[in-house]
Symmetry: D2
Subunit: 353 residues, 4 copies
């Protein structure tokens, strides 16, 4: 193997640059050069007016000073066109014409789908898990998760300061799509009293009851963590709650926002509640040590496998050990429900309500 | 003078604890003991069932380990009842019955109004400027501002990472009420291309035009800072813009949110735009060195003045010098328009569009 | 079980407070009250003039607001007296007289020795691994390690900025006693070119050669990580190197400091080298999300085991799973040499020299 | 004016990149192009084998994404050769041959000397104050100071955590050369009990006495800040103290280090004392908001002045106002002794010993 490619695709995650750097340098240490494709699979399709916009040869010096940078310097984007077979075939042709003999794809589930389609065409690929959501069950860890929760708790520590000064409760929305991992870890780490996640049914009435009860027992500040996908597991009839209650006019179950939920909790509990949406701050930032180390290990391992002619797999971590599984198996692999239960139970135990 | 009081009122600001600590220790160094009133002027009204809920004698040891804590350990709250004369008279009586001979009031404009009403009744007060908005013209600086902008830029640096990866523009809403100070400083410090503030008229069309033009010139990431009060200086006819444009349906000029503005800019410019509201994260957090130092200086200075029988004033900074002015003069003092112009012009110069 | 005890002993580690909090709250959720002993095993010996100086009953409210605090609010200290049997017997008597039926001991190897001696006397103990050194082989992780490396890389990122400006190399000393874990993780995460650890023999001449070679190849900034115990694996004859070299006068192999090593590298390589000792900054600070989560899980798990009448064990993590092993087995368990080799090899691969 | 130059010289300081960026963009907004000289005055002497190593034309895009970076991307170095007249003449010739009509010199006192020598030759120069030491009296502020003290207190907050756990005192050495500004601000901001600076005579015996006394009064943790130049104002006879005291053998007044001082305090006071040297961490790191804003303002102002044909001056801040003074006057201007006294007195007041 003389030349490989690397790309980042889907949502970006802190640590992606460290993974790219590791691919490039692990390649060079084996005499393999690396081409970086830009904007995920778009770069492989090579449709820009100038090739330089699509890919670049990555030297050792070009990845200097990247290990601690957030985002991905190869940029990333979704690529709907890549769902079509003819484009996948074109991609393989493009790579072969550049002498690229294997491709390292860093990203989440969508990225692994793209990689799997290249594998079907007989092209050697390796998937590297990079998504702050940490929502892939085949691996203990996805690059970016640690930084995302560190950023979240740093901001929630701040919110707690001002909530404590004003004796308010706070509803903080965190990322995670269909997965409660960010919410659970953020919740435990920030000492949150309540966590709402898509995996576990919950009702606004019950949350409000807890807030009320905690306030009566002298707890004048509470943190509630709301996973962005937690609306899907809400069992309350919001419209029925709001109907006839003037202070809740304008809130509807159909277009329920986290600030609507905060307002309902406020009215039902009689405690002041403020809503904050952490948003895109969780995706960026200099990666934590953990993310840099794991990204470096996974990136180097991907090249090791390609050099050993092992491909069509996604790499990951089980405990401290590097592992790999077929990329189709990695796709859509779910978080262990037992882990979800342990987390949910721990939140309840530690809340001290 | 044997005993003084201290309170924090209105919105909290990082550094308030450092100011309280300085009042207490500067007092002790002169043989003056300090009572901390809780929840702003509410504590002075002493209406809780237990006195302990209203005030506490602050020893040197009780303010140990507070200089670096966010929020205010005396808690804070607005106190509408304090607008009534009879309550102000009651407050003076309460303080006299405790032997309190002077009161240090840490907060913003509303707090200074409360202090002024006590002054009118002949009670010695000192106002200490503590508000992240930095919106008081009589002083160069209000406690909390530096930490608030540091927090904002730390989060915006993160947002820029992910915007850069995805080649998106970002609209970031910062605090500041009627004042653009936070927005200007945040904008310059984060290298923002555009800043929207209440002091300067602006139109969405013009902003969108700049975004479009910058993208055409190869700038694929832009940061726009939106001061929370900037809606007031918007000159565009939002309803006219949105009318007949299906992708803008549901957005109205009457209930315009920052995400509505982001969406309009996106549609008009053809560039992806994401909105983030930094919210309460800006109010909390461990104070910056600057906030700790200035809070310490101002708190100690307030006690110096009381000990010299100077009162009825608000303390502040001009350059490196401690100053004081009559508290009524400090109230509602406005930011120098020349400074606003300099900042606005600097943003334009540095944008590099 | 109605009452248990908890203590922190040995060097402190970020996350110890989160572990104490979890013990207390997990206890309360099962109707068990917790006594916190102060200053490690000293508190159990109860020799202070006032009992309050030795222990305190920990309520749910008393552990509020501790999850994000660095250090340990129970304080910690070594206790040489606890090596004597008669004192261990006294400790058991003291605990029984307070109704304490089990003891959770949070700390490193020395702490586990103390716990093992109580086990020998038939007293139920649980060891919880808390040491920034992460030097215990029976568990994948010890509380405090993640924060320590995050702090180290944050400071090394700063050092790299100034080294880059001045085109200097930097030798940074990190903690870790006899173990290279902190140095390896810090090295990979900070993009260090060279890591010196106690587990692997190394020579100054070779390091200087690499620095020289890298500079000749256009690398004008280098980070070298020096584990505090790495002097033990140095193979060079320092006195021979320094002899007759005037610029190295005063440096001796017997009292070799990291700044002495930096100076020798500088002279041998002809490149400017600056030395920094990160020191105690690595022990403190608000714990990272990972440390807070793992400390919470381990603390709650310790109580679960005691409630199930399982004791005499140390808890830990294997992958994502909570585990326990006999406390004597946990003591002195070594890091897997294969992991050490992987790390050392990865540093070489990623250095890009 | 069609073209100017910019350089950074002497020790680097966070915010220098923001100043360079402001120079470039303020230039472009007036139709002036900017050449960046590398490694301070060395770049102007143009002695490298390749011109690219000496200078580069800075476009708007090249300064993109630099406002938040630590260090200086133009690099910096001292340049002893520049003390010689013939080299200064050569520098002017070099600049003129490139069409450079004015030079912005960012740095401290040494840099201003270089600038003054060009002024003497009739070449238009502007000095911009950039040094973490904040040791120039003509301006209220030098770029980099705020970040340096923020970094220092962040690390001291960590040290305090571990000192508190172990009930130790801590002696922390900070930068500042002959100036106590960093030490004073760091001391007040970190709640330090004692600050040792070059401006004020002090004795180890007195410090030890305070430590002893504070411990007797229940203060079990103390932070002492030691300015790196404070040895010069030490009045104690160290050799006399150490003589005959076995636990102080090896410590001499001639080669006194901060850890020697810590050890003496420990022995004299009977309290455990640990020493930490913050070192180069204080020079690097992403600049604080304040440093970015002031650097941007000063950089743009320097260009404004050149465009108005005002030169031979150093720019600075008085309060919120931009000012300039002749560069010779700026050189060696001293900190106001009254400010030093206020700081020293405030430390004593706030210590709460």
């Amino acid at each position: 193997m003389k030349r490989i490619g690397v790309l980042t695709s889907g949502g970006d995650a802190p640590g992606m640059n460290a993974a790219i750097r590791a691919v490039v340098r692990a390649g060079l240490s084996r005499g393999i050069s690396t081409i970086g494709f830009k904007r995920g699979f778009n770069g492989v399709l090579m449709r820009s007016s100038s090739n330089q916009d699509d890919f670049t040869v990555l030297t050792s010096r070009e990845v200097s000073g990247t290990v601690h940078r957030g985002g991905t310097f190869l940029m990333t984007a979704r690529c709907l066109d890549f769902l079509e077979k003819e484009n996948q075939i074109k991609a393989v042709e493009n790579m072969r014409s550049l002498g690229v003999e294997g491709l390292v794809c860093i990203g989440g589930n969508g990225t692994f789908h793209g990689a799997a389609s290249l594998k079907e065409l007989g092209f050697p690929v390796i998937g590297v898990p990079g998504t702050i959501d940490n929502d892939m069950g085949y691996t203990d860890y996805c690059i970016g998760f640690d930084t995302a929760i560190d950023t979240a708790i740093e901001n929630i520590d701040r919110i707690r300061d001002t909530c404590g000064s004003h004796e308010r409760a706070s509803l903080v929305t965190v990322m995670g799509r269909d997965c409660g991992e960010i919410a659970f870890h953020t919740g435990i780490a920030s000492g949150a009293e309540i966590v709402m996640v898509p995996e576990i049914p919950w009702s606004i009435e019950e949350v409000a009851e807890k807030v009320k009860w905690a306030a009566m027992n002298g707890k004048n500040t509470m943190i509630m963590i709301f996973a962005e996908g937690a609306g899907s597991s809400l069992t309350s009839d919001v419209d029925a709650i709001c109907e006839g209650n003037e202070s809740l006019s304008g809130i509807s179950g159909k277009y329920l926002t986290s600030s609507g939920i905060a307002r309902i909790i406020e009215v039902l509990s009689g405690q002041e509640v403020r809503a904050t949406v952490l948003g895109y701050t969780q995706r960026g930032g200099s990666p934590s040590a953990k993310d840099r180390v794991i990204a470096s290990r996974l990136g180097a391992y991907a090249v090791d496998l390609l050099a050993q002619e092992i491909s069509g797999v996604a790499v990951g971590l089980k405990g401290e050990d590097l592992i790999y599984v077929p990329v189709e198996e990695a796709m859509n692999s779910k978080i262990d429900p037992a882990a979800v239960s342990e987390m949910a139970s721990l939140i309840g135990t530690l809340a001290g309500i």
